[in-house]
């Protein structure tokens, strides 16, 4: 078994799997169960300022979308930050950290955008001996209407300002949690770095309406006939999160800034993918909310087995390994020519590849009377749609050898060449 011990901005944990700040980490009871189940760390559910806590709705807080067999693919929530008194949370944090010194315990914070509020809460958190703080600049619902959460995360200047206050008034490591509800994630990340953040974590949830009740004509979750946008998470958001993590990892200004990857991590494989794109560790919520805390055991065994197979002895060897391969479209090799190939002995003749290609792509699959499906190389643009819709993975993309002629274009497959030098590119022509 590979060693999964992880160190993230100086915070040690037995594995890189942390529970994200969310409903599962709102109470001592839950967090103790999580640590017993094997989670490496926990980001405690976001604390607000001292005083009367926020209140939550008393109707449904969650909405969901499903795949086959009612497998939950996406979850949204309209729950706010912790609705329990600050003192209770702080006491419980201290108690848990004392009993689980080897686990990471981070405290998520969201207080009004003034220096005194932040200074006051930071002092209280330091007393708990928690390992660090995470600044919740992400939640898109409820708190944003009060000038907190994503209302801060959408303004890079605010991010930088608050981060600077936090670093100024605390010695604790500081993670800035970013909202994806922006047009370019690099701005907020640069601001966090400029403010002195030790790391960023992303993504927080995405503004969303999961569904509409077609009898009541109200968005879900519905509270007394009305609904509001909530924060979307779960497996469905992973591709969005992976891209944002990669953008920060490969940006000149933020490259090297530690990242805690969040967004739809459900299996060890998801976690490994985040890490290869630059995440030092991952945070998980929806998978735990769907299946319970035990899912971490599969993540631990799966990542460990993968690392053994790859010969990695430390998770740091995985971190960022795919970042150099994330590039801009213009640098993709236009002389990389592939053709779909259907492995006949594995084909079950469902014809989905044919329907997809014939109706929506390039009419590059032939169907015989007896349902044998074959690729027409002279039509195939290698779009990969047939591969994606095949239920039994019997279609492969085969690369054409250099020097061979692409029967579709009649052109010889040559050396690496991209758009920047392509004759159809006006900029390329102008540069000559």
């Amino acid at each position: 078994m590979a060693d999964l011990r992880s160190e993230f901005i100086g915070i040690k944990s037995p594995n890189p799997f942390w529970l994200a700040s969310a409903p599962p980490t709102d109470k001592e009871y839950n967090v103790r169960r999580a640590f017993e189940a094997g989670w490496g760390g926990v980001v405690w559910k976001t604390l607000g300022s001292e005083g009367p806590p926020v209140v939550n709705v008393n109707g449904p807080r969650y909405g969901a979308i499903y795949g086959a067999d009612r497998r939950l693919l996406g979850l949204n929530n309209i729950e706010l930050i912790t609705d329990r008194p600050l003192e209770v949370n702080l006491r419980e944090i201290k108690s848990v950290k004392r009993d689980y010194p080897d686990r990471a315990l981070i405290v998520s914070l969201m207080v009004p955008c003034d220096e005194d509020s932040w200074k006051a809460i930071l002092a209280r958190v330091e007393e708990t001996e928690a390992d660090g703080v995470e600044l919740n600049f992400g939640c898109p619902h409820g708190m944003a209407e009060r000038g907190m959460g994503s209302a801060v995360g959408q303004v890079p200047e605010y991010i930088e300002m608050v981060t600077r206050w936090v670093k100024q008034h605390s010695r604790m490591p500081c993670i800035v949690k970013l909202t994806p509800n922006i047009s370019d994630i690099r701005g907020p990340a640069r601001a966090a770095k400029a403010g002195g953040a030790d790391a960023v974590s992303l993504i927080n949830t995405i503004n969303s309406i999961t569904s509409v009740d077609l009898d009541d004509f109200a968005p879900e979750p519905t509270i007394d006939g009305k609904g509001t946008h909530g924060g979307y998470c779960g497996p469905a958001v992973k591709p969005i999160a992976l891209n944002m993590v990669a953008e920060i990892a490969r940006d000149r200004d933020t490259a090297g800034l530690p990242i805690s990857g969040i967004g739809g991590v459900t299996t060890w494989r998801d976690a490994a993918e985040f890490m290869t794109l630059g995440a030092g560790n991952v945070q998980v919520c929806t998978a735990a909310m769907t299946y319970g805390f035990k899912v971490v055991q599969e993540m631990i065994s799966g990542l460990s087995e993968y690392m053994d197979r790859k010969g990695f002895t430390n998770t740091s060897e995985l971190v960022g390994r795919a970042v150099p391969n994330v590039t801009d479209w213009q640098y993709l090799n236009l002389n990389y020519v592939t053709k779909a190939e259907i492995v006949q002995e594995d084909c079950i003749k469902c014809g989905r590849c044919f329907a997809a290609c014939e109706d929506t792509s390039h009419q590059a699959i032939a169907m015989s009377e007896d349902r044998v499906f074959t690729v027409k190389d002279e039509e195939c643009v290698a779009c990969n749609l047939c591969v994606e819709v095949c239920p039994v993975e019997c279609i492969e993309m085969k690369q054409m050898a250099k020097g061979s002629v692409d029967p579709r274009t009649g052109e010889t497959v040559g050396d690496y060449a991209n758009w920047t030098t392509h004759p159809n590119n006006p900029s390329a022509t102008a540069a000559e």
Binding site: A68, K349, C350, G351, P391
Partner: protein, 447 residues
């Protein structure tokens, strides 16, 4: 009654009264909503789907399953009924393992097809439970069609003709409509009076007048000329009313009867405990009728039931699934054996068989023989066309029709088991009735 399974002879009440209920309960209980959703999720929505191709009525299986998976089973039912108005019965009695489910691409990948039959039942039951008839009649054409036989072919033809705006008179020789659906299939395949409920639902289309206890060519009823005089067209769908004989001495001994009679009597029995059954039952034949008779004998409390077929199991007309059904109910299947003598004094006591082998000129008897004790024997070696109007051309013992069901007589169509076309399956009969109706409509409206 103090009979048990050990009592000799043909006696009623071999089992505890409550056993009859459980023995003849629905053989394939319907899917619940949750089961249906999970089953529907397995469908790949194949292009030009093999299951649809395999269905004699060409039901759009991927579409109706997708409609179930999106929470609209009533729309799914409509998709089914558009092609097959007896989709409810077909969901229960079709040998799906050799039709749609046998063609399911999941057989290739997992050996487990999508449960198409069960899903079809889920959809059709859902709509029919609402007593909601999904079709309306076209404007009246003023044309009238006689349909002879209210079995699957006749019902399908009558419904389609009525839907197209014609007036239909539906003649049937029995007390109740339904044909084989009512009289010819095992009780546990369509319990709860489903066949009658289905007919009642089907005739909601309107324009169908039922005439019961009317038999073609029977004195006082009428003949083909009468029908042609009263109607613009005639559809013959009277099935097969004769039974093949064993042609053995002693065939008339007590205790020997056609399996179809036994199945019909059982279907109509109000109290199964009062239905007599032998202790040692021998069924001769290898089709679905043989299996239905054998299994139901066992379920009525027969101690030993043997199903004897003259060829190998692989050649049995009953599907593998049907054979397994018989075996799991304790029926002994003896293959490659044919009856050569019936023994007994007044009533049958034993049936003597010879093993068979394949010879150059077909099946041959060998010298190896054996006897099976039998107090009851059911013959299930095929059915024959009963009396047929002389003018209608018959080929190979069945009414000759072309691809759309036209017979040799003008204005007369035929479909279902009484014709030579297709397999003798409910679903095939439905397809033929429907297609003949479309052709009748075409001819009547052209003319």
């Amino acid at each position: 009654m103090s009979h048990s399974q050990l009592t000799e002879g043909i006696v009623p009440g071999r089992l505890d009264p409550e056993r009859y209920c459980t023995n003849f309960a629905d053989v394939a209980p319907p899917l619940g909503a949750q089961e249906a959703r999970i089953a529907a999720d397995r469908c790949y929505f194949c292009h030009d789907a093999p299951c649809m191709e395999a269905c004699p009525t060409s039901i759009d299986v991927p579409l109706f399953i997708r409609q179930i998976s999106t929470g609209t089973p009533e729309a799914a039912a409509r998709t089914i009924f558009e092609q097959n108005i007896l989709g409810g019965m077909c969901a229960r009695v079709c040998p799906t393992e050799t039709l749609c489910e046998g063609a399911c691409v999941r057989m290739d990948s997992e050996g487990e097809p999508v449960e198409i039959g069960a899903l079809q039942r889920f959809a059709t039951d859902t709509l029919m439970a609402k007593q909601d008839h999904p079709f309306t009649r076209a404007p009246r054409t003023g044309k009238s069609v006689a349909v002879v036989g209210a079995g699957p072919a006749g019902l399908a033809a009558a419904h389609r003709l009525a839907m197209l705006g014609h007036e239909v008179t539906l003649y049937d020789a029995h007390d109740k409509p339904g044909g084989l659906n009512e009289y010819g299939i095992a009780s546990y395949k369509a319990p709860g009076g489903f066949a009658q409920a289905e007919v009642a639902w089907l005739v909601q289309i309107g324009g169908i007048t039922a005439v019961e206890n009317w038999q073609l060519d029977r004195k006082g009823d009428g003949d083909l000329a009468d029908l042609l005089a009263d109607h613009d067209a005639v559809f013959l769908g009277m099935g097969l009313s004769g039974v093949n004989a064993l042609h053995l001495e002693g065939e008339d001994k007590d205790g020997i009867r056609p399996a179809t009679d036994f199945i019909a009597e059982l279907r109509q029995a109000s109290d199964l405990a009062s239905l007599p059954i032998g202790r040692d039952v021998v069924v001769i034949g290898g089709g679905m009728t043989a299996v239905d008779a054998a299994v139901q004998s066992k379920l009525l409390g027969a101690l030993n039931v043997s199903l004897v077929y003259r060829r190998s199991r692989g050649e049995m007309p009953a599907s593998l699934h049907e054979q397994e059904h018989a075996l799991t109910h304790g029926v002994t299947i003896i293959e490659n054996a044919a009856p050569i003598a019936i023994h007994g004094n007044g009533a049958v006591r034993e049936v003597e068989f010879a093993y068979t082998r394949k010879g150059p000129d077909g099946l041959e008897m060998t010298d190896a023989t054996f006897r099976l004790p039998a107090d009851q024997v059911f013959k299930a070696i095929g059915q024959t066309l009963g009396d047929t109007p002389a003018k209608v051309e018959v080929a190979g013992g069945k009414i000759k029709v072309d691809g759309v069901g036209r017979t040799s007589v003008e204005r007369v169509w035929a479909g279902g088991d009484c014709t030579h076309a297709g397999e003798d399956l409910t679903v095939t009969a439905v397809a033929q009735g429907r297609d003949a109706a479309q052709d009748i409509h075409h001819v009547l409206m052209e003319g």
